[in-house]
Amino acid sequence: MSHLHLPDGVLPVWLWASGLILAIFIAWLFSRLIRREDLTRRLPLLGMMAAAMVLGASVEIVPIAYHVNLTVATGILLGPYLIFLVTFVVNFLLALFGHGGLTVIGLNTLILSIEGILGYFFFRVFWRISKRIIPSIFLATFLALSLSTFFMIGVVRLGVDHYEELLHSHEEKGLFEFKLLKEKDHQPQEISDKVNFRRFVSIVLPLGFLGWLLEGAITSLILRYIYRLRPELLRLTDERGNG
C-alpha cells in the first residue's frame, strides 16, 4: 500500500522532480559509503532479491488492491545501504511494466527505502529485546509499512493544489489547446466539488491496515523459513532465540 501507484502526470512537476533528485543524491551517497568489493560480491544477490520483489509486486491480492512488497524482508537480508539501490531498480522495472509512473520512480524509491531501512532497524531492536523471530519480524514489518504509508499519504497531500488545477483544467487553457472539439458557445460548468483528500485517506488506511497485517504475517513466515534453513543469511550474531 505504501507504493505510490500514481501514474505519470498526476503529481506536480516540482514534487516528483525533487523526489527524483533526492533519490539520486542518496543513491550516490550510499554507493560511496559501501565498500566496492562488497558491492561487487553482492550485486548478483541484489539482482535476485530485486527480481523476487518485482515478482511479489506482480501478485495482486484483488479484494484489497494489495500486493506484497518484500521490502522489509529484502532490507533485513541485504542491509540498509543496498536496499536503496534495490528499490531504485525495482521501481524502475515496475514502472516499465506500468506499475506506477516513470516520473514517480524517485518518490517510490524514497518511500520503499524508508520501509526497508526502518524494517531492518526495527527488526534488530526487537530481536535484541525478545530473541523471538516471528514477533520481531511481524512488529518490524507492521511498523515499517504503517510509517511508510503515512509518508506516502504525506506525499499525495503535497500535491492537493495540483489536483485542484487538474479538476478544473477544462475550464481554462492548458499547455496544449485544441479548439476543434469545443463548441463556440461552450460555457464552463459550475464545479463546486473540491479535491476530497479525506476520502482518499479513509480508503487507503483501512485497506493498508489489512495489508500491513497480511504482509507482516507473510514476511514473518518467509524469514522464519529462511532462518530455519539458512540462519546465517539474517546475520544475527547474537545467540539464536527460540523462534
Binding site: P44, G174, N196, L221, I222, Y225
Partner: protein, 208 residues
Amino acid sequence: MVQLSYLDYLALEGRSFLHRLSPKWKLLGMGFVLLWIVLPRNLHAVILLYGILLFLFLLSRLPLRLFPLTFYPLLFATLFIFISNFQIQFILLVFLKVLSGATGVVILLGTTPYPFLFQTLERFLPSIFVTALFLTYRSLFILLKVLEETQHALYLRGGFQWSHPIRSLTNLSNAFGHLIIVAIDYSEKMYEAMKLRGFKNKVHYRGE
C-alpha cells in the same frame, strides 16, 4: 509478468519500422511521450497522444494479444479517482495518461531487445545502476522458472484456499521463502561464474 519472455521474443524477431529504429531514438521518443503526459492539463491533448500511440502500436505490428497489457496500470489508478469526487473529466484525464504511458512502454519493450535498451541507458545512467538493472532483468527469467516449479509444489500442498487461510498463508510464505533461498543459491553461483569471467562491476555489451 509471464508475458515478459514473449515480449523479448517479439523484440528480437519483429521486422517492423519501429523494430529497425535505433534504441536511442526510441528512448528519446519515450521521453517525449512522458513529457506530453506530464505537461498538458487538457484532455484533448492527451486523447491526441493516445491516438498517436495506438497508431504506432499498429505500425509496430505487435500482436493484438499484447494490447490488454496496456490496461494493467488502470487497476492501480482506480484508487486515485476517489480523490476527485468522481468527476468524469478528471477520471478520463488520469486514465488516458495511464493508458498512454503504458502503451508507450509496451511499444518500447516489444520493439527493443533489452540488452540494447540497457546499453543505451548506460549512456545516461550510472553503470552500477544499469548493471544492477541488467542482473535483475536476467534474474527475473530464472525466478519465473523456479516460481513455475514452486507453484506445482504449492498446488500439491493444498495451494491457496480462502477456506483455510492460515494453512494457505503458511504455504504461500514457504513458497516465497523457497523462492528466496533458491534465488540466493543462484546468485552465489552467478557471482562465481562472473568473477571467473573477469567481472568488475560492469556488464560489457557486444560491439563495445
